[in-house]
Amino acid sequence: MFSLFIENFRISITSVLANKMRSLLTALGVVIGILAVTLMGTLISGLDHSFEKSMEFLGKDVLYIRKYEWFGDKEWWEMRNRPNIKIKHANSILERSQYAKYVAPVSEWYTSVKRDANEISGVRVTGTTGAYAMISTAEIEKGRFFSSSENRSGSRVAIIGKDIADNLFENENAIGERIRIGNYTFRVIGEIEKQGKFLGMFSLDKQVIIPIGTHQRLFTRRGWTGINVRVDENNIDNATEEITALMRQFRHVRPTEDDNFALNRQDPFKQQYSMIKLAIGGTGFFITVLSLVVGGIGIANIMFVTVKERTREIGTRKALGATPKMILMQFLMESITICLFGGLLGLGLAWGGSFIINQYFPSEMPIDLALTALGLSMFVGIISGLAPSYKAAKLDPIDALRYE
């Protein structure tokens, strides 16, 4: 039976190649279907990867005390009137909270960073304390974080992110060198490892970290301030409750009033993300199913035409000893071949597309998904080829031979 399989495959290839344009148009639905499903898979895998890394950056056990909520239904203008987060409360939290392990005040401002003629603008300048190093998941790759005495004395020392190191120093050693942050000269004492983009949007590596006292003095009070608190992961809900109460107390919020600050966590990102994922998955699934169904109907149609065109050939084959089953297999194979051809084309395009996705989210086309996609196109081939092949198999040999 193997010979017959080879023969059928040969017939199918010949037939597909003989009608290249027709085969292509016929397979278009399958091409789009497979393209959609694989691109969607690639995108989701890239998003997953990027999301996980971004969540790692935020940390599962860190509370971000901020003026604004990251998520929620509060109007921004309501939050705008809230008093700023006071840096001094960082110490108060550390003293009073039983769940807080490390507390780092942060103050942020965006400005340019220069070295000689090279300049990077829009760099995130974070002012903080040594506790920041204990809260952040990013490691110091070279050099060191600043000491508490450097912090207290308001030294002009900076830890630079990977983007800054790469752009201003290339292959040179940055440690000990001088850079200008805004209008002030700083000495580089450390480099942070590469962190990538946050949710594919902005680079986490375009950052410099300086002592908070220095930050407050040099970069005015125009940037925002906040407090990052690392707590015991298992007690994060208790910690949230406790620190909320402490903050209300520090900020003299009356019992009848709402909180005038936000305790942000990574969890809502997850909920938001699952919804985005569901939306992408749903859309992809819908496009895939729709194009495969439409494509399948088109293929069935063309296969009926093919059977009609080749009626005399079918008659001849039957006269030469082909059984109905052999004829059925021949046409089924042809329909599967068209679909596989479409599937492979779709995969090829998706492979190209995955490079584009990769530019935004590091990702690769999942192999199992590619195989599933090919299986799916075979399935479409079988389903849409069944009726035309059955018709061919059941043709009366005499009628088929007489067919004009």
Binding site: L4, A18, E313, T316, R317, A319, L320, G321, T323, M326
Partner: protein, 228 residues
């Protein structure tokens, strides 16, 4: 025992409520190594009889025994198997696969007969050489003349070493010279022991055979044998 035994064969079509008797009570016995011509005017039932003998068609009523087996009672698969192993068809319009080489065309019955690839190649080469096309194995039908195409078709018909070779107006689409060449091939096939049945309405063709059956309106009018 006859190779082929047709007893009281009827083939009746119903065309728009009207009965058409393509075969109207045919009784024919054919022995091994006969050279038989079926003649008669157009519409007399020649092709119908030929297709019946070739197990392509089944009678409305009557008994058909092929090598002692009841063809009437066979299902589609058994009929396909008999056609594949026992019968070689040659058509008026050649019926070659246009995209396949001569060799591949000849291999088709072997593929359906599940013959191994290397063996297939040998048998196809042998068959093509026997019809004088050893040097045209890799030509496609559109690269061959009409006579050469029909010779490929004959090679295809005899590649399985069938019990009978059936040819329905094999020279009908050929010029007289090519037709003559084709008839010479049939003659030599007959001489090497094959059973040949051909349909024709040309006396020149029929005179190659040693027995002639004349049909008229689905009935056998005449069945004449000439001593070989």
């Amino acid at each position: 025992m006859s190779l082929i035994s047709l007893k009281n064969i009827y083939k009746i079509y119903n065309v728009g409520g009207e009965e058409v008797r393509a075969l109207d009570g045919v009784n024919v016995n054919i022995q091994e190594n006969e050279y038989l011509a079926i003649m008669g005017p157009s519409g007399s039932g020649k092709s119908t009889l030929m297709n019946m003998i070739g197990c392509l068609d089944t009678p409305t009523s009557g008994l058909y025994e092929f090598e002692g087996e009841m063809v009437n009672e066979m299902d589609d698969n058994q009929l396909a198997s008999i056609r594949n192993r026992k019968i070689g068809f040659v058509f008026q319009t050649f019926n070659l696969l246009p995209k396949a080489t001569a060799q591949h065309n000849v291999e088709i019955p072997l593929i359906y007969g599940n013959v191994r690839r290397d063996q297939r190649k040998n048998l196809a080469t042998e068959a093509l050489e026997s019809v004088g096309l050893g040097d045209r194995m890799h030509h496609k039908p559109n690269e061959l003349s009409g006579g050469q195409r029909q010779r490929v078709a004959i090679a295809r018909a005899l590649v399985n070493k069938p019990s009978i070779i059936l040819a329905d107006e094999p020279t009908g689409n050929l010029d007289s010279k090519s037709g003559q060449e084709i008839m010479e091939i049939f003659d030599s096939l007959y001489q090497t022991g094959n059973t040949i049945i051909l349909v024709t309405h040309e006396d020149d063709v029929a005179k190659h055979a040693h027995r002639t059956i004349r049909l008229l309106d689905g009935k056998v009018k005449e069945d004449i044998s000439v001593a070989a």
